[in-house]
Symmetry: C7
Amino acid sequence: MVNGIERPLDLLNASKGKEVMIQLKGEKQFVGTLMAFDIHINVVLDNAKEMENGTLKKNIGLTFLRGDTIIFISPASTSLKR
Amino acid sequence: MVNGIERPLDLLNASKGKEVMIQLKGEKQFVGTLMAFDIHINVVLDNAKEMENGTLKKNIGLTFLRGDTIIFISPASTSLKR
Amino acid sequence: MVNGIERPLDLLNASKGKEVMIQLKGEKQFVGTLMAFDIHINVVLDNAKEMENGTLKKNIGLTFLRGDTIIFISPASTSLKR
Amino acid sequence: MVNGIERPLDLLNASKGKEVMIQLKGEKQFVGTLMAFDIHINVVLDNAKEMENGTLKKNIGLTFLRGDTIIFISPASTSLKR
Amino acid sequence: MVNGIERPLDLLNASKGKEVMIQLKGEKQFVGTLMAFDIHINVVLDNAKEMENGTLKKNIGLTFLRGDTIIFISPASTSLKR
Amino acid sequence: MVNGIERPLDLLNASKGKEVMIQLKGEKQFVGTLMAFDIHINVVLDNAKEMENGTLKKNIGLTFLRGDTIIFISPASTSLKR
Amino acid sequence: MVNGIERPLDLLNASKGKEVMIQLKGEKQFVGTLMAFDIHINVVLDNAKEMENGTLKKNIGLTFLRGDTIIFISPASTSLKR
């Protein structure tokens, strides 16, 4: 599944159109479909849900997230294998 | 609705002239009409309202927001679909 | 009133010589006449007043503010329309 | 074992495909297989586990970590020699 | 008095050799004679006094201040007009 | 002993292969053999020990430290002369 | 005494080989002989002493300090004139 990941952004590229979980500084998380990203790790999520400590706080819909506050981005297909 | 979003700034571009919700670091939010933005994610909002934890704190009118303190920007048309 | 704002700095340019309210990180605000600004959002205010939570704390007169600590800048003519 | 480490990134390069422990600001740690990194120290881990103070908090699977929040990265083969 | 201030650094230039008050992040202030500054807003003050909440804490003499921690710089001739 | 230190990085260069003490933001320290460093002050230590307030917390072995969290780096040969 | 200080770094240059006091973010200070500095305000001190709120905490000897955490640097010859 991790074939072809030479550089960190390759994982984001491979996750386009798929569900990801994004952890922000502080205890906020976002879950949504990754639509776009850039080298600053600014991202656009569709159907974004704001979570706090794992519980749904708000449906945000389409949203632009600044890379600056992001700790990690994880494709849901792998994060759901727990 | 999310057609044509290749890069994160495309969403901001598509949101010009429309209402957006902007979440800042700390618990402040702004709601207003997106007039302009740049690559630093500095933005100008018209009819801006400062919110704190979802309640109106102040009407600010036309305002310039530095990108540095922004966590996310969400078009209201999608954030209102909750 | 917001005609001709293509880029965020256009609002600052249109506000030169006029009263603005500047919100800093922390609870400090400055009110004063915008004399100058640059791309780092460093600004010079004349007749600056330091406010804290909306009450006057100090008259500072002419002052140089580093862009780094600024959250938003709002022309008073619009912020007074509340 | 540390032959050929001329520059700091040489250690990361030598650790590709191996288990590493990554300490973040705050008390979070990640353990996982280092798949990729770049000059910003953005990394991709496979089979990532989020730890807090040494105990497993979550299995995250494949994940992208922004370099910005990383304090140190240590190959497990050496960190296990305690 | 504010004639000829086109750019923010013009105020600093016009304040060379004069007394300024410098507010740092945290509650520290410095008062002293502005000897030099650069584009990072690093400054040198002579006869610097460290103040905390308006009371003298230490005479520091000649000192180099990193721009990074500065919030605002105000010429004393205007700040004394309160 | 400090002959030939023209630039700050000269001290780091002269400390390669020797034991250093590294103080991080927060109360963490690392002691270990300096293997490599770069202009961002990213460093690699061998036989690294994580200390907190002067007591051993963990043996980490070989480790990569991001420069961003470092306050100071001191060669042990001089810091042991207390 | 302050003749010839055109730019802030001129003061650091004039202080080479002399005792300086360096205030860090947080309440830490360092006193020592300034051996070297660069444009990032990274410095090397010899005979460095770590102080906290004015009392000696540790003799550190020769040390490399990252500019990032420095608030101000003051030549002791002037700071001792209190």
